[in-house]
């Protein structure tokens, strides 16, 4: 089975850090939001009380913030130091065309599926949603953790606003992961039981051809021109160097 390299080691480690810290944050955060439920109270008591739950929540929060810093430094290194054109996640007009194409396809108005590039619009949305989520939940979480220090600089009203933002935005994040992200990564009949690429870094060429035909077309074309990677997404270089692994 031929495989295509899709994610490098840094990206895989970043996803594991993000996923594991997210699970800990959700599991320790939701019982605090829905604290009047008996199940929340039993869970908090089982973990040794609210202080232990908060400690776990804060440790996981710092892991997630570290992960985000790691990703930003990694991007800087990739783009500025190694001069790779790692802009595969940037939204383009093609994404807008793909959205309308998808809708027509869903509704049976066209016989062709949209031909996605390396990252489909849903993947881009997942990616950028983390930036928004970290800014809102991370920022408000720090305000709730250090209310005295934060109100020394900002007006006091930021604390109740942070409380609302932290708790409501967290429901959005958990809802999105459970209902949308887990569907596309696990439950969708096209990938069931799971899409392993984010852990192994590789995806079968047949799968890549089906889901990301424009991407495959681009690097096979480049490869046919004598292995040049010009035009291919820059962070694919490592995999392109290895080419399509048999």
């Amino acid at each position: 089975m031929k495989e295509v390299a899709r994610f490098d080691l840094h990206q895989r480690v970043q996803h594991i850090l993000m996923a594991s810290s997210f699970v800990v944050l959700a599991v320790t955060g939701l019982p605090q939001k829905f604290d009047d439920l008996a199940v929340s109270q039993a869970f908090i008591a089982a973990l040794g009380g609210l202080d232990s739950v908060r400690l776990a929540h804060r440790v996981a929060a710092f892991v997630m913030l570290f992960d985000c810093a790691y990703h930003v430094v990694y991007l800087f290194w990739l783009i500025v130091v190694r001069r790779r054109r790692a802009f595969g996640m940037v939204a383009t007009p093609q994404d807008l065309r793909d959205i309308f194409h998808s809708l027509r396809w869903f509704l049976g108005l066209t016989r062709t599926k949209p031909a996605f590039d390396r990252y489909a619009y849903m993947e881009k949305f997942d990616y950028w949603a983390v930036f928004w989520g970290i800014a809102i939940i991370g920022g408000s979480g720090l305000a709730l953790m250090f209310p005295v220090a934060v109100t020394a600089i900002l007006p006091g009203v930021v604390i109740p606003v942070a409380f609302v933002a932290h708790s409501d935005e967290a429901v959005l994040a958990v809802g999105w992961i459970v209902f949308v992200h887990l569907f596309y990564a696990h439950l969708s009949p096209r990938v069931f039981p799971m899409d392993r690429s984010i852990f192994t870094g590789k995806t079968p060429l047949t799968v890549a051809r089906e889901h990301h035909p424009r991407w495959v077309a681009r690097f096979t074309e480049d490869a046919s021109k004598g292995g040049s990677v010009a035009g291919a997404p820059a962070d694919m270089l490592a995999s392109s160097e290895r080419g399509i692994t048999p």
Partner: protein, 291 residues
Amino acid sequence: MVKRILAAFGLAIAAYVLWSVLGAATPAVSHPPVPERPDGTYDCASCHGPGAAPRPAEPAPLVPADHVGPKYGADNCLTCHVSVVKASPLAASYATCAACHADTDRTATLKSGEKLVVAVDIKRYLTSVHGDFACTTCHESQETIPHEPLTAEGRREFTREMAELCTTCHKGATASYEESFHGMAARLGVIRAATCTDCHTPHAVQAAANWSLADRAASCATCHSGATESLASGWLGHEEPSAGWFPLVFYAEKFFVGLTAITLGLGIVHVELDLLRWAWDRARRRKEDRP
């Protein structure tokens, strides 16, 4: 005849109203206004102290010789002689309690061995919003003398137990407290989480309108060391945010609820459409495969 009966009725009602108004009126303070020192404490000694100048028009009895000991400090007169400044029908009951609780060093020992200061600054109490209540209105269990032993394990447990009393009358404030992060932490068993008296003090409760931002900040700072007026200004009090009260919080909540509903709604619709298209394709393929 009818007119006479009506007149008699009218007279009776008028007499009843007059009687209830006069009967309910609080007795006036017979003592002349008490001079205050620059620090706000009552200066009883200027008339009743040993060196006080004689006042033929308003003779003032000197402090009796048996009034010696820790509870008879210079500022403690009002603890027993409260009717001098406050004409409360309940004022008389203070004297019984004050006989012991005016002693500022007085402590009780809790089960854990912790000492609990059981003295009350009577002047601050009288000017607090609860100043018209007798001690036993809240401290019902202390009606018998000698008192029943305290049931609380330690000081925090005692504070939490006493805060339960506040909830008897302050229903609305209790409901909003339960919604706050302090209330949530308290419900989940964090014993140090702030409760009623931690912010409002036990015996010097001020009406919210008379409570300065500096005083609020000082209350916050008892737990959140270094708390400024800026932090205190963000406290919602016991009111839900609305368009007129903390509008920023109110609209932030609306924004995030809307954002969550729209984003999750679109995401779920996308998933469902995708799934339907897959099921449709599969059904069609099966139909085509059939001989």
